[in-house]
């Protein structure tokens, strides 16, 4: 509950001064608190001492590989990590996501995009804080979507969804990681146990059919987002948000 009262705190790790200025200016206008670090070791020190709510991490730092920082932080904290990268190669993003990052932004990004991603990350922190006292949740709630783990039933707006076992399994995996971008290899490994290149097409089909069943408007999905070439993400949706589009 404490999170709702205080303003969220963001640690910005970025070595380029202009981009750092841009980000903190944006954060200031939105009323976020922030601290900054210009390199990897500073970032680790700052993350450990000030315990920010979200980490905004540039992958190309002068002293340390960004992925290395993610691994180190994941050793002791589950704080959301948003990766900012100038590298347009999908491989780097996938590596960062597999190391434990929640989401990524590719430079050049727009300010709106940055804020949207931050909101999603903070929503995960809030949800987890709310749930803190009762870790063993039996029912998953996200917007109009509910999953009764014990009964093995998924509903939307109270209506039971007719999912195949595979779709249900996929939905549960996404729900357990709501707010995080899951790479397709991760999903394949979790669901099928092994990864074959040919499985990717099956995954696409399962995702498409699942989305058709749970999304109110499959052409403009709000629950499951596709990151082409990377993976998928289940997003936290506020109750009643279904009608309006998430920015």
């Amino acid at each position: 509950m404490s999170l709702l009262e205080k303003t969220p705190r963001v640690l910005v790790v970025e070595d380029d001064k202009a981009i750092r200025n841009l980000i903190i200016t944006t954060l200031e206008t939105q009323g976020y608190q922030y601290s900054t670090a210009a390199n990897g070791s500073q970032a680790l020190l700052e993350a450990a001492s000030s315990r920010p709510d979200v980490l905004l991490l540039d992958l190309g730092l002068p002293d340390m590989d960004g992925v290395e920082i993610i691994r180190k932080i994941r050793g002791w904290s589950e704080m959301p990590i948003l990766v900012v990268s100038a590298r347009s190669e999908d491989r780097d993003k996938v590596e960062a996501l597999d190391a434990g990052a929640d989401d990524y932004l590719t430079k050049p990004f727009s300010v709106d995009e940055l804020l949207a991603r931050l909101r999603v990350a903070l929503r995960r922190v809030k949800k987890e804080a709310d749930r803190g006292s009762r870790p063993e949740e039996k029912i998953y709630r996200n917007g109009e979507l509910t999953i009764d783990y014990e009964a093995g039933v998924a509903r939307r707006s109270g209506q039971e969804l007719h999912l195949t076992p595979m779709e249900y399994k996929l939905l549960c995996l996404l729900a357990r990681n709501t707010g995080k971008v899951l790479t397709q290899n991760y999903i394949l490994r979790e669901i099928w146990g092994l990864v074959l290149a040919s499985d990717t097409s099956s995954l696409r089909v399962f995702m498409a059919t699942l989305r058709k069943k749970i999304e109110p408007c499959p052409a403009k999905p709000i629950y499951i987002q596709t990151r082409v070439g990377i993976g998928y993400r289940m997003t936290w949706v506020e109750r009643g948000e279904e009608s309006e589009e998430e920015s």
Binding site: S88, D90, P108, P165, M166, K169, I191, W192, G193, L194, S198, D199, T200, S201, S202, R204, V205, M207, A208, T209, A219, T226, V228, G229
Partner: protein, 638 residues
């Protein structure tokens, strides 16, 4: 001055070794090219005192001493050597000389000296016991065979019968004698070797004397001229047999030569027909297998410069490697790793060694010098053929590089030109806002902000395209192919459209569910974004843009259609060329570097598809491109 060239002759004589060694040291001493010539004798075997083993050893010795071994065929030794020496620009000839006397003809070295006076002749003397390596078989080993003996006796018998009939007819004795002379000529033709050339006249003379020269049935004679007749018969017989022997020998040599020429010509034709280095080597091996009647394998270096071939025991591989590295034969019958099962010959051009062939030899013995020579010629031909490929490859690479350079230069020129305009605008606008922002009207300020924003977005767009261009055009592009749902791709592409997209009506239509195509998603999204942005750019606000995809057999056909003014017919052909922009509005207009469509084509082609443009009805344009369709594999949990 020309490089000196030392020539020596090989023979099967033990004394030849000394000559070869001396010639080698001379060649080394004066830094000359060293050639060892083997004049193969006419059929009938090696001359007396020579053996095939010794000859083989001498050939190997010459090779080891760095000689190029050549073979010429038959005829008079001195003439052959002189001809070869003249043709290949030999400066020194090293010969052996025995103390033996030469009757009737001059010694070969003397004749040689007369034929090529411009060439230095070095004569190495050796003892009488050793045979003259230079001597051609003027008297070869006796050749006796049953068929030839039968033929010889048969002819004599026939002449006797004919003589009997003529005698009965009452003809003169001299005529019968002429019949026998005819018989002697016939024997010379139907038999081989000087033995019969001697036997024929002798038998004929004896039979004639015994049967027809009075007193009959005795070897005595009474006619005073008879010894002359006898002598004439004998001489005619000897001369005839000697002549026929030579003519036959020359005919055989000529036939061999013709066959060799034919084989080489056919070989060259086959090599020409081969379309790849591997095929060329296969052709060579097939030809060699026919020649040596044993298996032939080839080895070729791979990209990393390691020799690759059939994996066998280490010994074989190392022999092949030695042959490759040292550009010299190795393995069986050679001085290098003779314990190997095969003989390894390098296939060389002038620039490098392209491959190694391994020949399985019968009983590990070298083939006949004639075949050996042919082998060498065929391997050399193959080397030249392979060199052709290597030269072509280099030329292609150079050409490719030149094109790359040209492209890069064009790109740079175009970029630096196109970057200037938006950068000037951004820099200028930001400068005004910083210096005198307060003094400006709110409306004016907004305009400047918008300009900065627009130009920056345009730069971002340009950079994205440039990255893709360099990825594709420098040839190192590796497509990251994955099956993708077309609907996902459409969603992704429409999210990244131009800021002015809102002024147009953009519609996506997907008639099929779960349509999937194999693609590098990033690049194909880029293609769609470029096509859509183009449609937005070149059509007036309010135009309709339709994005569709449908399956077409093995393909998915994507289409971006607009109802704008369309593209004039004469400009359609150049549409996909780099740096082409519709209406040639370059210079003042910064919109469009003419990169987008060319990039789209490069990307689609790299995917194995094709991109085209056709006019829309009633007006506008439709850009379509194809990608390989992908069926979803059924997969249930393991």
């Amino acid at each position: 001055m020309e490089t000196p060239h030392v020539l020596t002759c090989l023979s099967g004589s033990p004394a030849n070794e000394k000559v070869v060694r001396l010639a080698a040291s001379l060649a080394q001493g004066i830094g000359a090219i060293f050639t060892a010539l083997y004049v193969e004798p006419a059929p009938g075997g090696l001359p007396k005192g020579q053996s095939a083993e010794v000859l083989q050893n001498n050939i190997l010795l010459a090779e080891k001493l760095g000689a190029h071994v050549a073979t010429v065929y038959g005829g008079d030794m001195a003439t052959q050597v002189a001809e070869y020496a003249r043709l290949s620009g030999v400066s020194h000839i090293v010969l052996g000389r025995s103390g033996r006397l030469h009757f009737f003809r001059n010694a070969p070295q003397d004749r040689l000296a007369r034929m090529v006076p411009e060439i230095q002749l070095c004569v190495v003397p050796y003892s009488e016991k050793e045979d003259d390596p230079l001597e051609l078989p003027r008297v070869s080993r006796p050749h006796i065979s049953w068929p030839d003996t039968g033929r010889c006796l048969g002819v004599v018998l026939l002449c006797t019968l004919l003589g009997g009939i003529l005698g009965e007819m009452g003809l003169e004795m001299a005529i019968i004698g002429q019949v026998y002379i005819l018989g002697v000529l016939a024997i010379g033709v139907v038999t081989t070797g000087w033995v019969y050339g001697l036997m024929g006249p002798l038998l004929s003379a004896l039979a004639f004397t015994f049967l027809y020269v009075p007193p009959l049935f005795s070897f005595r004679y009474v006619a005073p001229g008879y010894p002359v007749t006898f002598l004439v018969m004998l001489v005619v017989g000897l001369i005839t047999s000697n002549f026929t022997l030579r003519v036959r020998g020359q005919a055989l040599t000529a036939a061999d030569k013709a066959w060799r020429t034919e084989v080489l010509l056919r070989h060259a034709a086959l090599l020409q027909r081969a379309s790849s280095p591997a095929e060329t080597l296969d052709t060579l091996c097939a030809q060699l297998e026919k020649l040596v009647a044993g298996q032939v394998r080839w080895y070729q270096p791979n990209e990393q410069g390691e020799l690759m071939g059939p994996t066998e025991d280490k010994n074989e591989e190392e022999s092949a490697l030695w042959a490759w590295q040292h550009r010299s034969s190795a393995g069986a019958t050679t001085g290098i790793r003779p314990e190997a099962r095969r003989l390894y010959l390098p296939v060389m051009g002038q620039r490098e060694t392209y491959a190694v062939v391994g020949l399985t030899l019968d009983k590990k013995r070298l083939p006949e010098p004639f075949v050996r020579n042919l082998l060498g010629a065929m391997v050399d031909q193959c080397g030249l053929a392979l060199e052709k490929y290597s030269v072509e490859k280099d030329r292609d690479a150079a050409q490719h590089k030149a094109e790359q350079e040209k492209l890069r230069a064009n790109l740079l020129r175009s970029i630096s030109h196109d970057l200037r305009t938006p950068l000037t605008s951004i820099c200028g606008s930001a400068g005004i806002l910083r210096e005198s922002g307060e003094a400006l009207k709110e409306e004016r300020r907004k305009e400047l902000y918008n300009d900065i924003y627009d130009d920056a977005l345009w730069l971002i767009d340009l950079v994205e395209n440039l990255l893709a261009v360099t990825r594709i055009e420098n040839g190192t592009m590796q497509l990251h192919m994955e099956p993708q749902l077309v609907e996902d791709i459409f969603a992704e592409a429409t999210e990244h459209l131009d800021r002015h997209a809102g002024e147009h009506v953009i519609e996506t239509r997907l008639p099929e569910d779960l349509l999937m195509a194999e693609m590098d998603s990033r690049l194909i999204v880029q293609v769609l974004v470029n096509l859509l942005n183009n449609a937005i750019k070149y059509t007036p606000p309010g135009s309709h843009i339709l994005l569709t995809a449908r399956s077409e057999g093995q393909w998915v056909r994507f289409a971006v259609a607009d109802d704008g003014p369309g593209i004039p017919e004469k400009e359609r052909g150049k549409l996909f060329e780099m740096f082409y922009t519709a209406g040639k509005r370059r210079g003042d207009s910064r919109r469009g570097m003419g990169l987008g469509l060319s990039l789209c084509r490069s990307i689609v082609r790299a995917h194995g598809g094709e991109i085209t443009m056709e006019p829309n009805q009633p007006h506008g344009s439709i850009f379509t491109f194809t990608l390989k369709r992908k069926e979803a594999a059924d997969l249930e949990p393991a």
